[in-house]
């Protein structure tokens, strides 16, 4: 089994465990079992090479994490659950792409580079998310609305610009 496959399974397990623990500690057993079911099904889907399942599973993980944050469950567990889900989702697609390689291709080199890249991205995401968790600023609703709209528009334009000129 390749390193990326092991890390993918680990990511799904860690994500499931973090979210399960968050809900379980808050005595929300129904939600905890739901998260556990989604996580186990994801593991099963990856084992059986049912690739389409990864995207709904990521959506479910992020939704569970967001709901958990809304009902004031531990932010560390919820963020960890979402980031681990993101890692699992990325590696699920990467392992699928690796299967298209011919036996002679340097898959281990590609795997090494991808693992390094995705680890840095995940760690950076976690660090920034962790940092922002400590920042508390009270702003009026109108300003919040304006900021969100600005963020949405800005993000859209940035994504569009990067899609067009990102490689240059």
């Amino acid at each position: 089994m390749s390193v990326s496959t092991i890390v993918m399974y680990a990511g799904i397990l860690v994500g499931t465990a973090a979210l399960y623990l968050g809900y379980f500690l808050a005595d929300l057993d129904g939600f905890a079992l739901g998260v556990l079911a989604v996580g186990l099904l994801w593991l099963l889907a990856q084992w059986k090479r049912v690739y389409w399942y990864a995207s709904p599973a990521l959506l479910a993980f992020v939704t569970a994490a967001a709901y958990g944050l809304w009902i004031s469950l531990p932010a560390s567990l919820m963020t960890l659950g979402a980031v681990a889900g993101l890692l699992g989702w990325d590696l699920a697609d990467f392992t699928r792409r690796l299967r298209t390689a011919s036996p002679k291709d340097d898959t281990s080199g590609m795997e090494r580079r991808h693992m390094a890249r995705v680890s840095i991205v995940s760690a950076l995401g976690l660090v920034i998310a962790g940092f922002t968790a400590f920042v508390r600023v009270q702003i009026p609703f109108e300003l919040a609305l304006l900021l969100v709209l600005l963020a949405a528009v800005g993000l859209t334009r940035l994504v569009a610009w990067l899609q067009r000129y990102g490689g240059e």
Binding site: S55, A75, V83, R113, R117, V148, L155
Partner: protein
Amino acid sequence: MSRTSLLSLIVYALLLAALFTLHGELLTLAIPLVVYLLAGLLRAPEEVKLGVTRHLSAERMSPNGGVEVTVTVTNLGRALEEALIEDIVPPQLTVQDGSSRGLVSLSRGETYTLTYTVAGPRGGYAFEALRVKVNDALALTGTEVQFKVVNQLFVFPALTHLRHIPIRPRRTRVYAGSIPARAGGVGAEFFGVRSYQPGDSPRAINWHASARHEELFSNEFQQERVSDVGIVLDGRLRTNAFGRGHSLFEYSVMAAAALADAFLAQGNRVGLLLYANYLGWTFPAYGKVQRERILQALARAQTGESQVFSALEHIPTRLFPPESQIVVVSPLTQDDVAPLVRLRGLGYQVMAISPDPISFEMSYLRDDPSVQMAARVVRMERALFLQKLQRSGVQTLNWNVTQPFDQVMARQLGRPPGWLRAVGR
């Protein structure tokens, strides 16, 4: 939904959720996703510039052979994080060894070589393009490009080498060959005696005739020349296709290839007519180039059904020089007798090579008394119409396809060995 769309959707949903619930912590959840999204998009692939070549170890092969395909891809543009290179192999060919695709990272100027072996059934195949799918490092954006690189591969029918095929068309061409020309001159077989003419070799003088008539006579030998041979390959579906997907056509093609090879080796001018749902005409010519042309036409030959060409009566006789040799390769049905007899009547020397459909069908049908009875009946019918053809002067060869074609040809059309001729058998 693309990966970028999914992530963007989640981020926007989190932004909206944070706004409507007035819960800022939801924004922190969006941050890792935004970082991931931007990290992928920052290194999105730009225009893909590749130099692509494909080399086939052979452009012609036999059905059991394999051809090694080598594809070389050189990155002439910026580094590519992840490129899935896939050579588009014609669907009828199978990759026997190696892989027709590869996943690579290509830095600027780097070359990647893809090597695999293909094999397949008889046919003419075109390798037309190479598909390259390039992704950013996180596969959020991708570009698919096709590079046109054309190569051709012919899988020729299995070729059996035939020895001398005895044909005697009425008209021959002027060049020396191996077909008796019904005219006196230089040759090997005795043709007749004529008055001695100055310049005749003393070895040609027939001393017995000269002594009897007190005048010198010379022996004349039969000239041997080349001839025009037209091979008609019957590709009609109704004569070639049988139940459960079985077909005699491959045998007919094999026979046509062997005949064309043998006639061309004898120095004849050979043309090929594929008679299927269309007329595929390979113009008559001599030599190795013509052999190649005919084999290519045979590699591409397919069966077909057409109302116009459902019977052999539409064989265009204008294509064949008058009084030349026509060889029809066909399983034959009763309806085909009249058109062949008509060809004979027009002065053509006709030879019918007929792969036997009855023994072919019996080879895969169950051994049942009713099947046996039916086979006996159709075998008698077939024997009758083949006999009718022979009586009309059509040289007929009924080929049981379970036996090798060259052996059947040698047995039925070849010269008997000398000792057998000596004992008068």
